[in-house]
Amino acid sequence: MTFDINRRELVKALGAFGGAAAIGSLAAPSRAQGGSIRLGLIAPLSGSQEIVGRYQLAGATIAVNQINQAGGILGRQVELVTRDDKANPAAGVAASKDLAGSGVNLMFGILSSGVALAVAPTLADDKSVLVVSAAAANELTHEQYTRNVFRSADHAYARQRALAKLVLTDFPDTLNWTAINPQTAIGASNWDSFVDGIAQYSQEAGKPAEITEALWSKFGATDYKNEISQLMRSKSEGLYCGVYGGDAVTMFGQAAAYGLTKKFKVIVDPGSEFIIANAMGKNTPPGLWSGFHWYHGAYEGHKINDDLYNAYVKETNDPHPAGYVGETHTSVLAYASAIQKAGSTETDAVIAALEDLEFDSCKGMRKIRKEDHQAICDLNFVQFGPDEGSDKGWKVTGHRIIKDEGVSEAPTPGVPIVFKNKKA
């Protein structure tokens, strides 16, 4: 029963991160200590997304420890200050104001796009910088672009178009796609980006794909039977399961009796990572491709990747770090390089240094574009399947790195993204 031990240990260990951070923040004086560089993590450390917040906290903590062991930045130690955004915009704004008020002008983290979009416009007033580590909404580097916000992680447009590229490479004959999506902006944005990719790459291959109208479900719904019935009657062969996290678990759980996973030849998921497999065990949909912020297995041999992975496993005994661990880790590294480059932690200097910054991370080199502050980086995908033999009940059956070569759009800060290939 190693699996059980692992899960318990994981929870306990992640809890330890939380406890340590709590004590750390409490003990932290309200004014900047001479010498140490203070970085503020904003993450959902309670509420419905707490699981992700704990991963983010783990990644940030490891990065800070590694930097400090290596002598800090500019010879100064780094101190992590944490604030809870509860994945709620109001709490997020309060958290960023709270950090700014305590003299922490360099912030990172944020899972929910709603929180990121709420926090972004308040930063200029507070003279703060935010490096977004997860929130993927395209708007953040388009119509809601502000000078004070960077994104060191991949964004919806790039990830979903890369996913389209992947499925068309692996399943060139699966050309009729449909979807079940949550009624959120990120749900719509993900689906539009995926359709855009499918349309473009299938046309380039000379076999235009066909898109069937998507189904839209309530975010946080508890019953998907009506939607599943409709999907079972669909003529499509590929299913884009846009509902993510706990909703996806509920949906696949209820769909098991219908044989949904057997009906569709290919099922893809925009970014639930290990959540579906971990929760469903033996009932994991076979062959499910899932989008990842970072998949450690794809970068074995890369030092930053291996050090991060080993540190994580050592702390938690959990062999499956979610991509969020890597992305918050990356944001801290981005700050480290930028501060090194700027020779200062002043807001304007750090902003200038982050623009056009190229730095190495757990998934290789990334470049933050000067124009729209979006990082250009690898896109990771993992394929899952059930594994009757193991205790955890599932295994990784494949993984893929898609390089961002023409996947991302041209930078157009201030202007909404255009889905050129929306019409299939």
């Binding site: 709590a22 915009p89 109001a90 309060a94």
Partner: protein, 333 residues
């Protein structure tokens, strides 16, 4: 010579003055995070006070008060986006008026047919409808909310105040909230307030004094809803974003918690309750994972130890410490 029936205006004005002075001085001394929390608190105080005008004063239990907060907020945001040249004060007033009209329409149907728990659950159902509408109506931003709500420039004729600058919007919120609280205070202590109190105590008896019970209940519902709608309208530019969460039932539970925690029978009850709750939340903000247990336990302790809320509990303590003989005598007489 003041009659004991007069409203305690001198005392309450003095308390209010002290509170407002402290709030206005906040940005000078407190960190920004705290200022943001306090600005939100000011709006929540209005939210709690207006709910208690229905409950403590009139005896109406609404489980859907947040829907008016949300309606006011979205109304203002939509108006400000659609008519950028409109004077912002007109926008805020319009939000209030919209809340009042909607409350009258709902009240005319709902208050006549159902009271007590039925009215409570009815308002809950209606607020769920508002919530679902806001989370699936595309022009209002659905689940992700109404983004980019600007803090307006106040054109005062002779001069302009840019509320987007510095702490201006915070100061504006504090002063506007004070005004809204004053409205609630005035209604509560006016002739209408006395009639509402009579209705809360015994509606049938009140009717036999010639008081229009249904009309006054509707009035209280409309005033409370209008005031809350204005608070909601002020909240949009404060956060620069509105999400359907502001119509969620967990937010509707807030004014109930504030009022019961502070004490429903006093004007100041919801103020004390809201402040207490904010202190709890702010105090536990870094205790990741423990905040629910701590907040829950403290709430539970207050209810079990001080039935009647904090103010009610203080009152009881004061009475107990006062000469018991005198109390006994008065009872006998």
């Amino acid at each position: 010579m003041r009659s004991p029936l007069s409203a305690p205006i001198a005392r309450d004005a003095a308390i209010a003055l002290v509170i407002v002075a402290v709030l206005l001085a906040m940005p000078l001394v407190a960190p920004k995070g705290l200022v943001f929390v306090v600005g939100t608190l000011a709006l929540h105080i209005v939210f709690g006070l207006s709910w208690n005008l229905m409950f403590g004063q009139t005896g109406l239990v609404s489980f859907g008060h947040a829907s008016f907060f949300a309606i006011g907020g979205y109304f203002y945001a939509l108006v400000a986006r659609s008519f950028p040249d409109l004077h912002p004060l007109l926008g805020f007033a319009g939000a209030g008026a919209f809340g009042v009209v909607l409350a009258i329409v709902i009240g005319l149907i709902a208050l006549r047919r159902s009271l007590g728990v039925y009215f409570a659950i009815l308002t809950l159902a209606l607020s769920q409808i508002v919530y679902l509408f806001l989370s699936s109506f595309t022009p209002l931003g659905r689940e992700d909310g109404f983004t980019g709500i600007r803090r307006p420039v106040l054109d005062m004729g002779l001069f302009e105040i840019d509320l987007a600058r510095g702490d201006n919007y915070y100061l504006f919120i504090v002063l506007f909230s004070t005004l809204l609280c004053a409205v609630v205070w005035w209604v509560r202590h006016s002739q209408t307030g006395r009639a509402l109190r009579a209705i809360q105590q015994d509606p049938e008896r009140a009717a036999f004094l010639g008081i229009n019970v249904a009309g006054n209940r509707l009035l209280a519902f409309a005033i409370a809803s209008g005031v809350t709608a204005v608070a909601g309208a002020l909240y949009g530019p404060w956060l620069q974003l509105l999400t359907p969460d502001v119509a969620h039932w967990t937010l509707s539970a807030r004014p109930i918690l504030y009022s019961l925690l502070g004490g429903v029978s006093s004007f100041w009850g919801p103020v004390v309750g809201a402040a207490g709750f904010a202190i709890l939340e702010y105090g536990t903000r870094t205790l990741h994972g423990f905040s629910e247990i701590i907040i829950g336990s403290i709430l539970l302790a207050v209810v079990l130890l001080f039935p009647g809320g904090i103010l009610g509990g203080l009152d009881a303590l004061r009475r107990r410490s006062a000469a018991p003989a005198r109390t006994a005598k008065e009872t006998v007489r």
